[in-house]
C-alpha cells in the first residue's frame, strides 16, 4: 500500500520537518496533507482519504487531544491510526494519550523510528507495502465529503 498521511502541527517548520522525515523513512507514499491545528485537521480528514494522522498536542484553536476525541467519536474515523508527535516526557500524560488508542513518538525522532511505528500503528507489514490498496482503517471521508465532527 502507499500511505496517505496527514500531519497536524501549528509550526510550519515542524510540519515541513516531519514531512521530510516521512519521505526519508522509505515508506511508500501516496500523499502528505498538512493542517495547522485540530480544526483544520478535521477539515482535512473530511476532504482526503487518510491512512494515518501524525498529530501534535499543543496547538491553538483546537489542540491535539480535542481533535483526537472528535476523531474517535466519529464512526468513520474512530479506527483511524494516530501517532502523537510531541515533546511530552511525562509517563502519566503519555499513558493517558495511549489510552485513547494512539501511538506516541517524541520529538525529535529518526526516519527509521517513524517507519517502524507507522507500520506498527497501521498494522501494515513490509510485505503489504507492495500492494497499492488503501488501508481499511483509513478515513472514508473522501467518498462523499460528508464527515461532520
Amino acid at each position: 500500500m502507499a500511505f496517505n498521511i496527514l500531519i497536524v502541527d501549528d509550526s510550519a517548520v515542524m510540519r515541513g520537518m516531519i514531512a521530510r522525515v516521512v519521505r526519508l523513512s522509505g515508506l511508500p507514499l501516496a500523499a502528505i496533507h498538512e493542517a495547522g491545528d485540530g480544526a483544520a485537521g478535521l477539515a482535512a480528514l473530511a476532504e482526503h482519504w487518510v491512512d494515518l494522522v501524525l498529530l501534535d498536542v499543543n496547538m491553538p484553536v483546537m489542540d491535539g487531544e480535542e481533535m483526537l476525541r472528535r476523531l474517535r467519536a466519529h464512526p468513520d474515523t474512530a479506527a483511524t491510526p494516530v501517532i502523537i508527535v510531541s515533546t511530552e516526557g511525562s509517563e502519566a500524560r503519555r499513558a493517558a494519550l495511549e489510552a485513547l488508542g494512539v501511538s506516541f513518538i517524541r520529538k525529535p525522532f529518526k526516519p527509521e523510528e517513524l517507519r517502524a511505528l507507522v507500520l506498527q500503528a497501521t498494522g501494515v507489514t513490509p510485505e503489504d507495502e507492495a500492494y497499492a490498496a488503501p488501508h481499511p482503517a483509513g478515513t472514508a471521508a473522501a467518498h462523499d465529503g460528508a464527515l461532520d465532527f
Binding site: R20, G89, P108
Partner: protein, 176 residues
C-alpha cells in the same frame, strides 16, 4: 569560564542534544557575557546585544505538577541570525535563494525552544511529573530570564538559553 551549576549543565546538555538531533547543528559550551543578551528587561534589545542584528528569541512557558507541588516557569532561547537561518534551513532541508524568511526562522527557533523545554522539564522533574507546555511565543517585555543561563557556540554562531524555574523543579526530579 565558571563551572555551570547542575541546572545549567542540564540546560547545556539538553540544548546541545536538541540542536544536533533536530537540526544537525553542533553546539559547544561558551563563556558569554553575564546576564545574557537581553539585558534586565526583555524588549527589543537583541540588535544591540552580543547576538548581533537579526537575532531571534522565543520563550516557552510551562506549568504542571511534580512531587505534589504546582510548578511553573519558562525556557527562553535566543540565537544569532546565522544560527536562526541554519536552524530553519536544516529543519526544512531546503536552502533556497536567500534562505528561509523571517517567519520560518522565528518558527524554527520556537520549535527548538519547545523541544529543549519539554526534554529539560521532564529530565529535571522526572517522568512522573505532569507538565503542559505553552506554544512558543515572542519574549514579552519585562519577562524574567531566570536564574540559570547557558551560552553556546553553534558552528560559529551564538545561542543563549535561560531557564526561569524554581529550585523545586529539580528537587522534584531528585525525589522521583
Amino acid at each position: 569560564m565558571p563551572l555551570p551549576t547542575p541546572p545549567e549543565r542540564l540546560l547545556l546538555t539538553t540544548a546541545r542534544s536538541t540542536f544536533e538531533s533536530l537540526a544537525l547543528l553542533f553546539a559547544e559550551p561558551l563563556a558569554g557575557p553575564p546576564g545574557g543578551p537581553l539585558g534586565d528587561s526583555f524588549g527589543d534589545p537583541l540588535g544591540d546585544g552580543p547576538l548581533g542584528a537579526g537575532a531571534v528569541a522565543a520563550r516557552v512557558a510551562f506549568a504542571g505538577e511534580a512531587a505534589g507541588r504546582a510548578l511553573g516557569g519558562a525556557l527562553t532561547l535566543a540565537v544569532s541570525a546565522d544560527v536562526a537561518a541554519a536552524l530553519a534551513e536544516n529543519m526544512l532541508g531546503a536552502a533556497g535563494p536567500g534562505g528561509p524568511g523571517p517567519e520560518a526562522r522565528r518558527d524554527a527557533v520556537g520549535e527548538v525552544a519547545n523541544v529543549v523545554c519539554g526534554h529539560l522539564v521532564s529530565a529535571a522533574a522526572g517522568p512522573a511529573a505532569v507538565f503542559r507546555l505553552a506554544a512558543p511565543a515572542a519574549v514579552p517585555a519585562g519577562a524574567p530570564a531566570g536564574p540559570w543561563h547557558a551560552w553556546l557556540d553553534v558552528e560559529g554562531g551564538r545561542a543563549w538559553a535561560a531557564l526561569d524555574a524554581p529550585d523545586a523543579l529539580f528537587a522534584a526530579g531528585a525525589t522521583a
